[in-house]
Amino acid sequence: MSPILPGRLLLAMCGLLLSMTALAGSFSVLVSPPRFEDSAKPGTTYRNVVEISNLSGQTAHLSLKTAEWHLDAGGAAVFSEELAQGSCRPWVGLEAPEVTIAANGKRRYRFEVAVPADAPAGECRFAILLEGDPESVQGGVVVPVSGRIGIIVYLSVGDASARLAVAGQQLLTMEGNLLPALRVRNEGNAHGRLEGFIDGKDASGRRFTFTPSSLPVLAGETRDIVLTPQSDNDRAPAPAIVYPLSLKGRLDFDSQHLDIETIFAR
């Protein structure tokens, strides 16, 4: 399986990261990889490494800590430093609470997740936040500024799996196009992403094939998954749909599937 980071999450993070480049100018850090999706067995310790590169010509002093995260309705990541109930962050160990990286230097930063032997099947989900020292903006006005970035970790423990079900449907306007969306509920204990094809026929008799958004549905949450009609080719504009629209097909996630047969009307 080759999971893909949701587009809106990507956009949100890029927006976050790049929004103040011109203002700051002198200070930037590169982190790789920005996301981990892996698994661990109870009673074992999962270990991995993040590489942090300081792209600026000045020494970077960074603090690192864990955080909770979830996705908002638009698919953007929302972080919280407060320890949530049932959080797996107490299993997490970090190499150091802060690091200093020389100008144009890099550093490998280690973290681990010690999964207890009696850990139930589920998904350990957390983020590692990097935060720069507050600085002052040049130009006479002294305003404390700082930057943050979150590295997202999904760690599947035991036989965790998603259990997705359709809880409703609606039409949503996306970039000016009215598109069908399935309200998908995850009753399992791991996140899931839908993939596959849905065949559709609109009121004008045109047939389309729809593919679902790759946004993850986190365990316990309900999310709108937009179905996008495929264009005839990469140069063709997005097809216009005349409602009502009949949809029929099967969407896959992990080794399970959802059968879809429904009609969308305005």
């Binding site: 990507l10 480049t21 200070f27 407060e82 320890l83 490998r108 036989d159």
Partner: protein, 659 residues
């Protein structure tokens, strides 16, 4: 359930931490009021030990440069002969402030093989390239010296139905491109010859010259023109062992073509005229394409006189006719069909009809299936020839599985059939493992059927931090006139002795191969050079490599670049599925270019690597100069690859052939 650590391509480009005038709104403010949580810090003695980081001692002064040197020893048994080769291979690249980039590949080896004795038992080759020299007026120049291939203009390269091979030479080549006007000038001059060597690439200079002179230009909006002269002395033919050798035969050929590219339609007119020891011959062909929504149409007509030549390798000739192909691509469906009518001008060649059809349906995100059908009917042939293939691709927890059935009937001969299962296993990143099992009854060239069963494994990966294994092994059991029994293998073990030093050992054995009875296309030229004789070799290599240069100078790098690695393999994609099945052969000695500047060659396993590449998007182009005909590489402009920091971006580039 096991999930691999996969990094989304766009995000891995740069996750840059920047200053922000306020706390980013995506961060919740809950922590302001809650008791702060304190993370557990791993004690120093419990921290995992990291493998040595060669970057730590990286010399980032000056412009980027690299050097590579290899000491090679090989012992081979080929056919009835036994011989050894010992030699040195060196290479590298370096950037200059104003002269572009330089790449060097050189080999020198001593061999006691018969074909080298006349040359004092020495063999070798040297190639020096200077690429992307910027001059005033928007000119960009590239110049090569040493063992090269004659250049082709893009119009010659982008052929739909016919392929124009290049010619190897020892001499010089130059190419000048003006980005503003679209003018491209190419020329080459040198001595003819042929590649030789086993583990090391050598070049055997023959008694003859090669010269080419060509250009491509835009002569009106949407119109391009191209012309190329190629003169060669000598022709490459297979010997008794089906190895390529040079024979007498002169050719002087002139190509001229023009193309028109519209928004949805394109057309290309081609003229070829040759004169030489086979007499004067001319050829003309027109290729056109139209894109209409989900459909693509390709059609054309051709007339190629008997004896038509282009360089030292055989090309299509003695044929006239036309073809039409239609392809459909949308979501789940991909299908195409086509028909060729071909008439032999002399009456000695193929006269008849060739038709092909292919369909694939993606039933779900994990299951696709389809079939292809090919038929060839020659005039006066009662039965005609048919081949068909049925396949299903299934993605499962183990990886990707293909089940395939091939059937063929050739005239009045017995039927050929083969059942095969290819499994590409889901393994950790930087590892690969696939297996192929096939059983069938094959009829070669009208002889009695040969029953054959084979099992092939292909894979590789790191065994430890310093030891890696890569290779393929095939076991074959057969019964019949063309039966092969025994095992083929091509296995390499690489041991990283210390930073910059590596020792590798490779064992290689091939029982040979034959033309597949399932290929019916009458316009497919002969493939003598992949039908190798029995061969058994042992290679030992001691390698030193070092790179230096300031960070922004990593290969293809932007300022402040972090680095990753690109590695990959080139292979002959027999089943045309884009995946390297264990049974598919590697393509060795193929030039692979990164971002149009830095080149390496594939080794005998078809592998290549660029060890230190800037994180970001790059273009990898395989130059099919030494690819056996009629194989070609589909990604003409190159394949985009995303490199993530400290990650190995692995490419599998499959050479295709038309069925």
């Amino acid at each position: 359930m096991r999930r691999s650590t996969t990094y989304p391509l766009p995000l891995a480009v740069v996750a840059a931490l920047v200053l922000n005038a306020t706390s980013p709104p995506a961060f919740a403010a809950a922590s302001v009021h809650a008791a702060p949580y304190r993370d557990r810090i791993i004690s120093r003695e419990d921290l995992q030990v990291l493998p040595p980081d060669e970057d730590e001692e990286y010399d980032d002064e000056g412009l980027p440069r690299s050097v590579r040197a290899e000491l090679n020893l090989s012992h081979s048994e080929r056919g009835e002969g036994t011989f050894t080769e010992q030699g040195l291979s060196v290479g590298g690249f370096w950037e200059t402030p104003s002269l572009g980039s330089f790449s060097l590949d050189a080999t020198l080896f001593r061999s006691n093989r018969d074909r080298f004795r006349g040359d004092g038992a020495l063999g070798g080759a040297i190639t020096l390239w200077q690429r992307d020299l910027n001059l005033d007026g928007g000119w960009l120049g590239s110049n090569g010296l040493g063992v090269l291939n004659t250049p082709l203009t893009p119009l010659q390269y982008n052929q739909y139905r016919f392929f124009m091979p290049t010619v190897a030479l020892a001499g010089a080549a130059t190419e000048w491109r003006n980005e503003g006007s679209g003018l491209l000038l190419q020329a080459s001059l040198g001595r003819a010859g042929i590649y030789n060597g086993t583990r090391m690439v050598g070049f055997d200079i023959a008694d003859g010259d090669v010269a080419s002179l060509g250009a491509q230009w835009s002569w009106a909006p949407h119109w391009k023109g191209s012309a190329m002269f190629l003169g060669t002395q000598g022709r490459i033919v297979p010997d008794a062992l089906e190895e390529a050798v040079f024979a007498a035969g002169d050719t002087r050929a002139m190509y001229a073509g023009t193309s028109w590219d519209g928004a949805r339609d394109a057309m290309q007119f081609n003229l070829l005229s040759s004169n030489g020891d086979r007499g004067h011959a001319s050829g003309a062909w027109v290729d056109a394409s139209s894109r209409r929504g989900r459909y693509t149409h390709n059609y054309g007509v051709f007339r190629l006189d008997p004896g038509l030549s282009w360089g030292a390798l055989p090309i299509n000739n003695d044929a006239e006719g036309g073809y039409y192909r239609v392809g459909y691509q949308y979501a789940r469906w991909s299908w195409n069909g086509g028909v060729d009518t071909i008439r032999s001008i002399s009456g000695d060649g193929f006269d008849g009809v060739y038709a092909t059809a292919f369909g694939r349906y993606q039933a779900s995100s994990t299951l696709g299936y389809g079939a292809s059908f090919n038929t060839r009917h020659a005039s006066g042939d009662d039965g005609g020839s048919y081949s068909t293939q049925w396949f299903a691709d299934k993605r499962n927890a183990w990886g990707q599985t293909r089940v395939q059935l091939d059937l063929a009937t050739a005239g009045n001969h017995a039927d050929s059939w083969q059942v095969s299962v290819d499994q590409s296993f889901a393994v950790k990143q930087a590892r690969r493992l696939s297996a192929s099992l096939s059983h069938g009854s094959l009829v070669y060239d009208g002889e009695a059927a040969t029953r054959s069963t084979s099992l092939t494994l292909y894979g590789g990966g790191d065994l430890t931090n310093t030891l890696s294994l890569d290779g393929s092994a095939r076991w074959t059991e057969g019964d019949g006139p063309s039966a092969q029994r025994g095992s083929d293998f091509n296995i390499g073990l690489n041991w990283r002795l210390q930073p910059h030093w590596a020792l590798s050992a490779m064992v290689y054995q091939s029982e040979g191969s034959q033309r597949s009875p399932f290929v019916l296309d009458p316009l497919v030229t002969g493939t003598p050079f992949i039908s190798l004789p029995r061969d058994r070799s042992l290679f030992l290599t001691l390698r030193y490599d070092r790179q230096a240069g300031r960070q922004q100078g990593v290969l293809g790098g932007a300022p402040g670049g972090a680095v990753g690695r690109i590695s990959g393999s080139l292979f002959l994609d027999e089943n045309d599925d884009g995946q390297r099945a264990a049974s598919e052969q590697p393509a060795a000695n193929i030039t692979v270019i990164l971002d149009g500047r830095y080149s390496v060659r594939t080794d005998s396993l078809g592998n290549f690597s660029f060890p230190r590449v800037a994180a970001g998007l790059h273009l990898v182009t395989a130059v099919p100069d030494n690819l056996p005909l009629p194989w070609f590489i589909d990604e003409a402009p190159g394949q985009a690859v995303q490199v993530n920091v400290r990650q190995d971006a692995h490419l599998q580039i499959g050479a295709r052939r038309r069925r």
